[in-house]
């Protein structure tokens, strides 16, 4: 099962002087259980694209299928789609509003029609999974730190038990430890619950470390779509459209250019270490060690 986009176009303010085509003939298949990163410069269409996936925006033309059903079909329950495809916006903590953290997380499931008790259970589960200490549950969400607020906001979406979790720059503005905590949490959701995750990010290093597929957006189109090392192989083209490769990828390319016999396509620190150990000691055990880990 999956989400399929078939020639999706979206035009802002059509038939006016301000007409802008934000999406152009997007064809994508998002398979169940994938961990996808979407990258692209500001204004490349990333946010427009993800808002189509749960029906918040309606394509100007083209079709979107969720588990084989056309979401623009009259009989299709968009409400159901929004329950199953959870979207965490940028700076989601700005949307916290209840008097206690617990009530805030209950809001989503209650809105889905669950009873107070059921919603409460969901909230407990979600707050526990994001690792918020229990003594905070009945405090005001506004007294929390930035990283904690963001975890509460993510819990609010998790409590709705989505099959697909979409996050728009979930780590913007967080300190390094906060960034790692959020990304590790998302990776765990993906691993343990088989949740499909779509991560929009401006950090090439984070994308390289976590996702198994990268979709590169440029001027409303999909420019590249593949595993990280394939995509970052095009680092020169990525630079031309405002992006980059991870730091270590540049390092490896520079070393290869200087004559070191090394696999230049490493995209994470761990891969780079393994490749460099192999190149420097002639032993590839380092690489095997990594795989065993």
């Amino acid at each position: 099962m999956s989400i399929i986009l078939d020639k999706v176009n979206y035009i802002y303010s059509p038939d006016t002087a301000y007409q802008i085509q934000a999406l152009r003939d997007i064809n994508l298949e998002i398979k169940d259980g994938q961990f996808i990163g979407i990258i692209g410069h500001t204004g490349s269409g990333k946010s427009t694209l993800i808002q189509h996936l749960n029906g918040l925006m309606r394509a100007t033309s083209g079709a979107i299928y969720f588990h084989g059903l056309d979401i623009y079909d009259e009989d299709f329950e968009l409400r159901e789609l929004r329950n199953r495809v959870g979207l965490v916006f940028q700076y989601p903590e700005h949307q916290l509003f209840e008097t206690t953290i617990f009530d805030d997380v209950c809001f989503g499931p209650q809105n889905q029609g669950l009873t107070k008790e059921e919603a409460g259970l969901r909230a407990f589960e979600a707050l526990r999974s994001v690792g918020l200490p229990e003594e905070l549950y009945y405090q005001s969400p506004f007294d929390l730190s930035g990283g904690q607020k963001r975890r509460v906001a993510i819990a609010g979406v998790l409590a709705m038990k989505p099959e697909v979790l979409i996050l728009d720059e979930p780590t913007a503005g967080l300190d390094p430890a906060g960034r790692d905590e959020i990304l590790d949490l998302i990776a765990r959701m993906h691993r343990e619950r088989g949740m499909t995750v779509i991560l929009v990010s401006h950090s090439m290093e984070d994308v390289a470390k976590y996702v198994d597929r990268i979709v590169v957006m440029n001027q409303g189109q999909v420019l590249y779509d593949g595993v990280p090392r394939e995509v970052f192989r095009h680092y020169r083209e990525l630079e031309k459209i405002g992006l980059a490769a991870p730091q270590v990828t540049y390092l490896m390319h520079e070393l290869a250019a200087a004559g070191l016999k090394v696999d230049a396509e490493a995209t994470t620190v761990e891969e780079a270490r393994a490749c460099l150990m192999e190149a420097l000691t002639g032993v590839s055990s380092a690489r095997r060690d990594i795989h065993r880990e």
Partner: protein, 297 residues
Amino acid sequence: MDAWGRGTVICMSIIRARQLVHEYIRRDEEGNVESISTALDHVDLDVKQGDFIAILGHNGSGKSTLAKHINALLTPSEGTLYVDGMDTSAEENIFPVRQAAGMVFQNPDNQIIASVVEEDVGFGPENIGVPTEEIWRRVEESLAAVGMTKYRHHSPNKLSGGQKQRVAIAGVVAMQPKCIVLDEPTAMLDPNGRADVIRTAHELNREKGVTIILITHYMEEVVDADKVFVMDSGKVVMQGTPRQIFSQVGKLKEYRLDVPQVTILADLLRQSGINIPIGVLTRQELVEAVLRAAQIS
């Protein structure tokens, strides 16, 4: 003479904090004190005129509170803060302090007010009664300094995040400050925008002698700073050159921070027995170290 053609002021420290304390006081509906949290806890800090300073610290460590003090948006609960020789707690100094120390915030969309780039840049000087001719001269110079001259007639909302942020910086530059505080100016930008903003800050520092105070969560942006301050629980807990700071990986992790990717990789290689020196900060340094280890050079 300073960068803006004014006479030299003999003042080594542009920023000088002594036992600076800031308390956020929460009150209930009757005005009784409900709780007090100490955001700055007896901070001593000196920034030399013309330096490029970076401040690191986790969310809630007090960085932004400190930044707001430098701009006199907040004033000391206890202790003193001098900006360009002026005591920020004296009411009459508030506007001169803000003119001496400009501020750029995280979200460019909250800082741009005019509908044309050059008008936005000219807003500050116009607001303090600079003569028209002089305003245009400053607008020209500021846009050139951030590399945005060719967008002067554009609408700011058609620009990319990095371009908007550079317009915001130009708006501050037009006030001819001695010091610019940038509070996470790249948090919302894509890689290109991030690089442009950091390069602009370095150019202003190098070419105009403007003191830069950069607050950031991106460790890579800090490696070229003259000095790094690390904050935790409202205190300055580490200070030194980037090399001194980033060679203390364990301590940084305790403070919820990190080191640049190349530093991590260099450390991993050294732990695996490769001869790589301590304190590698940049890609260039690691390339050279690895080539030496491989005996290619």
